[in-house]
Amino acid sequence: MGNTDQTKDSEKNLQGIASVDLKNVGLRLDNGEVLDDVTLSYRTFGQLNKDKSNVVLICHALTLDQHAAGDNPLTGKPGWWSSLVGPGLPIDTDKFFVICQNVIGGCAGSTGPTSMKPDGSGVYGIDFPVLTIADMVRAQNLLLDHLDIPDLFCVIGGSMGGMQTLQWAAAHGDRVFSAIPIATAARHSSQNIAFHEVGRQAVLADPDFHAGAYHQHDARPRKGLAVARMAAHITYLSETALQRKFGRNLQDREAVTYGFEADFQIESYLRHQGMSFVERFDANSYLYITRAMDYFDIAADHGGSLAEAFKGTSTRFCVVSFSSDWLFPTSESVSLVRALNAAGANVSFVEIESDKGHDAFLLNEPEMYTTLNGFLRAAARDRGLS
C-alpha cells in the first residue's frame, strides 16, 4: 500500500492502489468530535475522462475493503466484485473511472481503531470516536475534494455500501447523478440491531478483549470475534441455501459423536468462517462499523419522513433487492421506493429472484448483471458518456 503525499497533481493518486494522508481537514463527526488528520486508503480502476464526468464510487459492505476488483494484495484473491467491475462488465472500467475507498473506522488502511493516535501515544483502540454512516460518507467527500473530482456519475453499493449510497444521495445529492442501492435499507431494523448486538457482546465477553486495549496486551479477542462472525454469517444466507449446501450432512464422520465436536458440516463451515475472519479483521473495527450501521436511519434525520430526505432530488435511482434476503428484505426496498416516488424521484426498482440470501449481491447473479447494465447504459447515455 504505497503512501503518496498529498500533492493534488500526483498522477499516482488516480491510479491503482493508493493511500492519502489528509492533514488539518477538520472532519466533523456526528458525535461532535473532530478528526483533524485522516488517512484514506482507496483503489481506482480505469481512467478519469477530461470532463471528470465518468466517476463511479463503489461503497463497500461491513467487512469488505477497497479491493472491489483486481487482486487483493493481502490474500492474492480476486476483488469482491470482480464479476461486476472490469473491462466490458456492467461497471465498465473501459468507460468509467471507478473509486473504492476503505471506510473510516475500517481496518484496511483508512483511519480507524487500529490507527495511531495523532499524539503518538499508541493506537486508538476503543478510544476511537463512534462513527456514523454519514461520517464515512463525509470522509469520501474529502477524498473526492482531494482528487479534485467535482461529482459522481454513479454511487453504488450493497448492504452497508447501499446505506452509504443512500446517504450520498440524501446529503450530497448535488454531487450524485445516479445511485444504485443494493440489498439495503434506509434504516437498520430492530432485528438487524439485535444480531449486531449479539456479535458485539461476544467480542466484549472475550477475556482477550481487555476493554478494547488488546493491542497493549499482545492479544486479540479471536474467539469472541469468530462467534460474532459465525452469527452474522447465518444472516447473510438463506435457509434454502443452507439446506441445499449442507443439509444435515456430517463432517468427515459416519455418525454423530455424542459430543460437542463439529459433527455437522454446517458447524464446521461456520467455525471455518469465524476463524478465517479473525485473521483479516480487527475486533474494534467490527464494533465501530456495526454501531455505525445500527445508528443509520435517514428518515430520523428528516423529521421522520423518508420522502423529505429525497425531496427535489435530481439523482436517478436503481433500487435492487433479492427475494430470499431476510436481513435486508424486499419490504425495506419497497418502503424506500415509495418514499422516492413520493419525492418525485426518477426511480427504478428490481427484485431479483434468488435463493442465496443477502450474500446474493456479492455472487454471480445474471439478473443483477442485466439490471445494472441496462440502468448504467441509459444513465451514461443521458450523461453524455457514450
Binding site: A342, G344, S348, I352, E367, T371, R381
Partner: protein
C-alpha cells in the same frame, strides 16, 4: 400490471396499435407515468420518440426487470395499492393502457390517476361491441374475441365495461372526456366528442383522453 395472458387480450394481430396512438397523444418532453407498462413497449416509444420524462409502474416482476434492463425507469407495484404513494400533480399525463379492466377497484384507480396528473389517457376493450353481444346472445357463452381472448376462468379482466359504462364513470368522477378514438379491425377512428350508441356497438376498443375537472 397485466399478466401475459391479459396483455394478449389487448392484442390486435401482433401489434398493440393503441400504443402508437397513445404515444402520439403525449406532448414532447412532458412528464408521463405509464401504469401497467408491461415490458416497456409504450414507455420506450414515449422516451425515444416523444423525449418524455417517462416512468413506469408494473405488477409483474419479469416485466419490471425487462424494462430496467432496457434502461427504463420502472418500479414494481400494483395500481390498486401503490398509486397513493405518488405525489399530487407529479406528472402531466398518466396512462393506463388495457389495464383498468384488470384492476380490483377501477373507480379508485381512476380517481388516484386524476390526483397524480391533470390529464389521463385510458384505453379499454369494449364489452358493448356487437360481436361480444352476439356471442352472449346467440351462444349463451361468455364472449371470446380478438380484444378479449381468454376464457372466463383464466382472464385477468375482472372489471369489463362498455364504452358508455366507462363515460358514465368518468362523469361521476368529474373527468371530462376530451377525446375518444375507437379501434376496430386494426383501424383507428376519431369519434366526434365522446362515444355514442353507434360507437358503443361497433368499436372493439377505445382510447380516451380525459381531463380532471373541478372536484
Amino acid at each position: 400490471m397485466i399478466d401475459p395472458k391479459a396483455s394478449a387480450d389487448g392484442n390486435l394481430g401482433n401489434k398493440r396499435i393503441d400504443l402508437e396512438l397513445i404515444a402520439n397523444m403525449v406532448e414532447s418532453g412532458s412528464r408521463v407515468l405509464d401504469i401497467g407498462c408491461g415490458t416497456g413497449e409504450l414507455l420506450d416509444l414515449l422516451v425515444e420518440q416523444r423525449h418524455a420524462d417517462g416512468r413506469g409502474l408494473e405488477l409483474s416482476q419479469s416485466g419490471v426487470n425487462a424494462c430496467v434492463a432496457r434502461g427504463l425507469p420502472v418500479v414494481q407495484g400494483n395500481a390498486d395499492t401503490d398509486l397513493s404513494y405518488y405525489p399530487d400533480d407529479g406528472f402531466d399525463t398518466v396512462i393506463l393502457s388495457q389495464t383498468l379492466q384488470a384492476t380490483q377497484r377501477p373507480r379508485e384507480v381512476l380517481h388516484e390517476m386524476s390526483r397524480i396528473g391533470p390529464r389521463l389517457i385510458v384505453s379499454i376493450p369494449n364489452f358493448g361491441h356487437w360481436r361480444v353481444r352476439a356471442h352472449l346472445a346467440l351462444n349463451g357463452r361468455m364472449p371470446e374475441t380478438n380484444a378479449l381472448a381468454s376464457s372466463w376462468y383464466e382472464t385477468a379482466n375482472i372489471h369489463l365495461c362498455t364504452l358508455l359504462d366507462f363515460t358514465d364513470l368518468c362523469d361521476a368522477l368529474g373527468l371530462k372526456v376530451e377525446q375518444c378514438i375507437t379501434l376496430t379491425n386494426g383501424k383507428a377512428k376519431q369519434s366526434a366528442t365522446r362515444p355514442g350508441a353507434w360507437q358503443n356497438l361497433t368499436a372493439e376498443q377505445a382510447v380516451f383522453v380525459l381531463r380532471r375537472g373541478a372536484f
